[in-house]
């Protein structure tokens, strides 16, 4: 596995889930959960960000935020603060 899970003794807890915000440009992840603000989550789900969707981070904006991601053949932007609530594996 490319991303070893933190050991059970790690101070940050037994298992820190990776989120979309942790992916570097060019990396892909499969969505495992969409959380955070209910409105934002529903909006993302309407656009097809649901469990099992493959999302690829394309780039970050010149000022570091928001992110541009590709899913289902189209480009979506979202802020890091929203991407942090989308867990991926």
């Amino acid at each position: 596995m490319r991303w070893p899970r933190p050991s059970a003794s790690s101070p940050s807890g037994p298992e820190v889930a990776r989120t979309l915000a942790d992916l570097a440009p060019g990396e892909r992840g499969r969505v495992t959960a969409v959380g955070g603000d209910a409105d934002a989550a529903r909006r993302l789900m309407d656009l097809g960000v649901i469990r099992g969707t493959t999302v690829e981070v394309i780039r970050t904006a010149p000022l570091g935020d928001p992110l541009e991601v590709r899913l289902r053949g189209f480009m979506l932007t979202l802020r890091r603060s929203e991407a942090e609530h989308i867990t991926v594996d």
């Binding site: 529903r42 309407d46 656009l47």
Partner: protein
């Protein structure tokens, strides 16, 4: 006589019925719905041509666009172009309107007889989400599979027949930009009402069906159709509350809560159930109907974005584009402006020669023609700006601008989307305020609207141009810059920086609220359709023309009258110039100017500047024409007028000191950077902030704070300048 009588007896052929579809009868109302960037507007234009009406849904700031087309003799169909949405979740005003129109629950728009879902063939998965929601409403539905040509170019073959079988409604391939497939689409619309009604094409887990049954029952009782009730029940589950148009249904909230609890107990996720069920079904549909040929090549959009959104090149290109827009205002528009100006001068001269000397000639030539002409001279500039903004929007660059600027805008508590309306504010606050509709959060929208008129719009340009050209010397600074140009730039920066600062203050105080998500599609780049672009520009430019034709015309006439009456008798032989000054000083306008002189005196202004400021409450550019009237240069009064500039330079007060020093001019410009001198903006803000009392409150607040800011800043500039010895 007999013929007429006979005509009264023989029944006239039945007029096309405006009423709802009768079994086997005609279709009279068609609604277009679809995701943004699917070519829906292009399809709407292709169907309806120039027969369009643009209005507003009452109470909300959602544009209501309707058109019509003739489908055979006597069969005129009304087409409602619903706002572009990604879903019917009713999470934004746009979605809420789209859903209530389809359900016939708006009270002002009749439910459509046929719904056309415009679907982008290149982006079938996401587009089918909305389509699947619409299908469940159970209305006669036709799917327009648009941009099939682009999909094929991208290596995608969409099988329309397979899609028809999967969706249970006719699917018509179209290329709206070339008008392909329109006849087939019209035929499908004509016959859609005779086909079996569409319904949900997938099934929910048994537990979910069971849990939702009471919610459905509740909605059925409230008058929804069977299929609409099923769709709404699922939607409410994902929204998590009974909202908007379903707010008042008794027992709904309780049954919804019980359904959520039951689903959670069964191990299902109530919030994601709808999206996951729909996308699960969509995956099967797409599998069956779409054949992909891996092209391997990066798409054109990817290649453009690699440059346009690049860390270094992106912002540079952005700045370059903005510079180009500014360049276009000041250079490209000039020949056209000369043309308009020359036209009005010729018109004034021609009409003047036809009318006898007297009040009527003065009214027509000096009042109406000169007044309206001084405003219409900006039409070329404004049109070029609208063209630019429309071009950036239609190509897809505007979304990129929001992407690049979001981090920056967030610094002041706003959204990347606020950037587009604010940018439009450089052309004219009116379309900018209207463009703020795309901002979902009400508080963000209000903050954007409240600061938008601080962006220096083109109506300020004549004020700046007159004052800079007259009082700021054309010196070369640092080898390449001109002091006049730098002064102009400083005024733009002052307005922009203040707008952002004020927005930050509002977002932290008056309009404090939760940070809104910035979830936005970056659409593929597209070559704009000239027709659509020109139509947009025409809609916007004609708004400006209407304003010139009504408000400015009225103000010109009133001002002329105020400056002309009561008449002052002068001794025969008095030079015209002196006579005019006497006349003005003793007129109603002169009296008003004298009355407010104590108020503007601390800013270094005399009564004549006071008069010009008061008269520019109508529109900033009126300042220039009023100055022209006051200084008796009449019809030549524009910001380039040499006569007016000379008069201003040589104007002396009672003590013989010059009235206009560069310091007064700078203070006056600063005043105009901040003051909301524009009746049209006030009217639009009133409408866009909710109308009625609420809108009045916001509009009055905006006018007040901007006037206070203007007065205070002009005072500081003048006083500080005097203290520094810059008074002469």
């Amino acid at each position: 006589m007999e013929v007429v009588d006979a005509g009264a007896v023989i029944p006239a052929p039945p007029a096309p019925s405006p009423s709802r579809t009768t079994p086997g009868g005609g279709v009279s109302r068609v609604a277009l719905i679809g995701n943004p960037n699917t070519g829906k507007s292009t399809l709407f234009n292709a169907l309806t041509g120039m027969r369009q009406r643009v209005g507003n849904y009452s109470g909300v700031t959602v544009e209501r666009v309707e058109g019509s087309y003739c489908d055979g003799p006597g069969r005129v169909l009304t087409v409602i172009d619903l706002p572009g949405t990604y879903s019917l979740s009713a999470a934004s005003p746009d979605e809420e309107i789209a859903l209530s129109v389809l359900l016939g629950r708006t009270g002002e728009v009749e439910a459509p007889d046929v719904v056309v879902v415009v679907v982008d063939a290149q982006n079938l998965e996401r587009n089918l989400f909305l389509a699947s929601q619409v299908l469940e409403l159970g209305l006669p539905t036709v799917v327009a599979l648009n941009q099939v040509d682009a999909a094929e170019a991208a290596g995608m073959q969409v099988d329309a027949v397979e899609l028809t079988l999967q969706l249970g409604v006719p699917v018509v391939p179209t290329v709206a930009t070339r008008g392909e497939g329109l006849d087939v689409l019209k035929g499908a619309i004509r016959r859609a009402a005779e086909l079996p009604r569409p319904e949900r094409q997938f099934s929910l887990p048994a537990e979910a069906e069971q849990a939702l049954a009471p919610v459905r029952a509740c909605l059925l009782e409230a008058g929804l159709s069977r299929s609409a009730a099923a769709m709404e029940a699922l939607r409410l589950l994902s929204v998590g509350r009974a909202d908007g148009h379903l707010g008042g249904i008794p027992g709904l909230a309780e049954s919804l809560e019980r359904a959520q609890a039951a689903l959670e107990a069964a191990g299902l996720h109530p919030r994601s159930l709808e999206a996951e069920s729909r996308y699960g079904w969509i995956a099967e549909v797409v599998d069956a109907a779409v054949q992909r040929r891996a092209t391997g090549a990066k798409s054109l959009t990817d290649r453009i974005d690699a440059v346009v959104l690049h860390r270094v090149w992106g912002p540079l290109i952005f700045l370059g584009l903005m510079a180009l827009v500014f360049q276009s205002i000041f250079t490209w528009a000039e020949p056209l402006m000369d043309l308009v100006e020359g036209g009005f001068a010729a018109l004034g001269g021609g009409v003047g020669a036809l009318l006898p000397e007297g009040d009527l000639r003065s009214l027509v030539v000096d009042g109406i023609i000169a007044g309206v002409g001084s405003v219409l001279v900006f039409l070329p500039q404004i049109t070029i700006l609208f063209l630019f903004l429309g071009f950036l929007e239609d190509t897809g660059y505007m979304a990129r601008a929001a992407f690049i600027m979001d981090r920056f805008m967030r610094g002041v508590g706003l959204h990347g989307r606020s950037f587009i309306p604010l940018l439009s504010g450089y052309a004219c606050a009116v379309p900018g305020v209207m463009a703020a509709r795309t901002i979902e959060s009400r508080k963000d929208r209000l903050a954007t609207i409240m600061v938008l008129p601080l962006m220096s719009c083109s109506a300020r340009i004549p004020v700046y141009t007159l004052l800079i050209g007259t009082f700021i010397p054309s010196l070369t600074v640092a080898g390449i810059f001109d002091l006049q140009g730098l002064t102009l730039l400083a005024m733009y920066l002052l307005g922009t920086v203040t707008a952002l600062a004020v927005a930050a203050v509002f977002k932290r105080t008056l309009l404090r609220g939760q940070v809104r998500p910035m979830i936005m599609e970056l659409p593929p780049y597209r070559l704009p359709r000239l027709r659509v672009l020109l139509l947009t520009v025409w809609h916007r430019a004609s708004m400006f023309l209407k304003r010139a034709g009504t408000v400015i015309l009225a103000i010109s006439v009133v001002l002329w009258a105020l400056a002309t009456y009561p008449k002052t008798e002068v001794a025969p032989g008095t030079p015209d110039e002196i006579a005019q000054e006497h006349q003005l000083e003793n007129s109603i306008l002169g009296a008003a100017g004298h009355a407010i002189e104590p108020l503007v005196r601390p800013l270094g202004y005399d009564w004549k500047i006071g008069v010009s400021i008061v008269s520019s409450f109508a529109a900033r550019e009126v300042f220039v024409s009023t100055m022209g009237t006051i200084y008796g240069v009449g019809s030549e009064a524009d910001e380039q007028s040499g006569a007016l500039r000379d008069r201003l330079r040589t104007e002396r007060d009672a003590a013989g000191a010059p009235v206009y020093t560069p310091l007064v001019a700078v203070g006056l410009m600063v005043f105009y950077v901040f003051a909301l001198m524009c009746v049209s903006t006030v009217a639009v803000v009133h409408r866009e902030t909710g109308g009625g009392r609420a809108g009045l409150k916001w509009a009055a607040f905006q006018f007040g704070y901007m006037l206070a800011l203007a007065y205070g800043s002009a005072w500081v500039v003048y006083r500080a300048g005097l203290a520094l010895g810059l008074g002469t």
